[in-house]
Symmetry: C2
Subunit: 232 residues, 2 copies
């Protein structure tokens, strides 16, 4: 113990996995991207997207790499959730798993992709049994998503760059599982001054059409600097 530099060889070694809870928003519902596991144990069972940390990469690099390898997605909002470290969580060996949750604009994830990568969107309300502790991870991610969305504008990550106010409201309603008054919602979200109204309308949702807006990240960041607190 008195060497100038220790290589810690007396301490135990562990496998480290990264699992991602991938949220999307489509058809007015909050969804999760899952797939059928491709290796043992639990091959063929429903699972989150995960993989193992490599020697030469940082944890966050691993999270991004694994998301990319399994879904083809890049530059995605991700946040670390928690590390799962129970001894018996994986019957095939001691593996700790760092859970990340990711928000992707569902429109960016086409059918083609989905087939190519064997990925499936499932509604959170009809979530099947997932392997190991993955259902716990989802629960925890959902709690975190709710807390975060209430105080930071990460909801926009789930929408296309241009979106309508009714779309945004429906997203918040899906996240919180509650109905919101559209007048009050519009008033509040617009009063923050972080949305830019465009000239165009989105005609897909109604006869009348709804104006498109864009989230102004710069304005938002200026507000944050001044101590503004984004809340719904």
């Amino acid at each position: 113990m008195n060497k100038k530099k220790s290589n810690y060889s007396e301490y135990a070694l562990f496998h480290l996995a990264v699992d991602s809870i991938i949220f999307g928003f489509d058809e007015g519902e909050l969804k999760l991207l899952i797939h059928k596991r491709k290796f043992e144990p639990f091959m063929g069972d429903w699972s989150l997207f995960g993989g193992f940390l490599k020697e030469e990469e940082s944890l966050s690099d691993a999270a991004n790499r694994i998301l990319f390898e399994l879904t083809g997605l890049q530059k995605i909002y991700m946040e670390e959730l928690q590390t799962y470290g129970d001894i018996e969580r994986d019957p095939a060996g001691r593996v700790l798993s760092v859970a990340y949750y990711a928000l992707i604009p569902a429109h960016r994830y086409s059918e083609d992709y989905s087939k190519q990568y064997g990925a499936t969107w499932v509604s959170l309300k009809e979530l099947p049994d997932l392997i190991m502790d993955h259902n716990d991870m989802v629960k925890s991610a959902l709690r975190r998503l709710r807390r975060r969305t209430a105080s930071q504008p990460i909801g926009f990550e789930l929408l296309p760059r241009e979106f309508t106010i009714p779309q945004l409201q429906s997203l918040y309603e899906a996240i919180y599982q509650t109905e919101l008054d559209k007048r009050n919602f519009r008033k509040k979200i617009l009063s923050m001054g972080v949305l830019v109204k465009l000239e165009e309308k989105d005609m897909s949702g109604s006869r009348k059409g709804a104006f498109l807006y864009r989230f102004d990240k710069r304005k938002y960041e200026r507000l944050i600097e001044k101590g503004y607190n984004f809340t719904i």
Copy 2:
């Protein structure tokens, strides 16, 4: 890859550490418990309390064990913060560290303990340089503590079981680095109905003395069930 059960032997192995950011509250200030590291590398430098995960223990068990071994403290509020996984964070080898933050009532940590374990309380305002990424961990823990304290009654973990309203207020002022109006603070905290007023007074802080209160966890939990949201 087609074995019925894999032992993942093809994947890399890592050392896993746990580091704890230990907050205390004393003399109207938020403090951190640190010590001088006892092994290389960085022996003798200021460090958080940390240790290595063992083969036969879960991550949360490790966090509690390490806190106990290094400080003698048990049954302490702890929450996982984040896992630090940069490649070069420890020059002596690839080690990932799971950071936990802990809240201890400083009065429970006597001078004797402090000497026995070589631990020192330092004010957050005069925090020295800590080893590796430990200063980042502290920053992150402080952010988390502020968010948490605003929405959950974890502040009480930093006070003795019986405390006065002015003490509680001074705790919140220390956490948020701001001054609060004592009439408004008292009104708000009492209106939640989770404090029980005792007959006794604490005479140590003033001539007049201040009534002691106790946090009623059961009442609080009943409120939470009903969807109540604790906020300062």
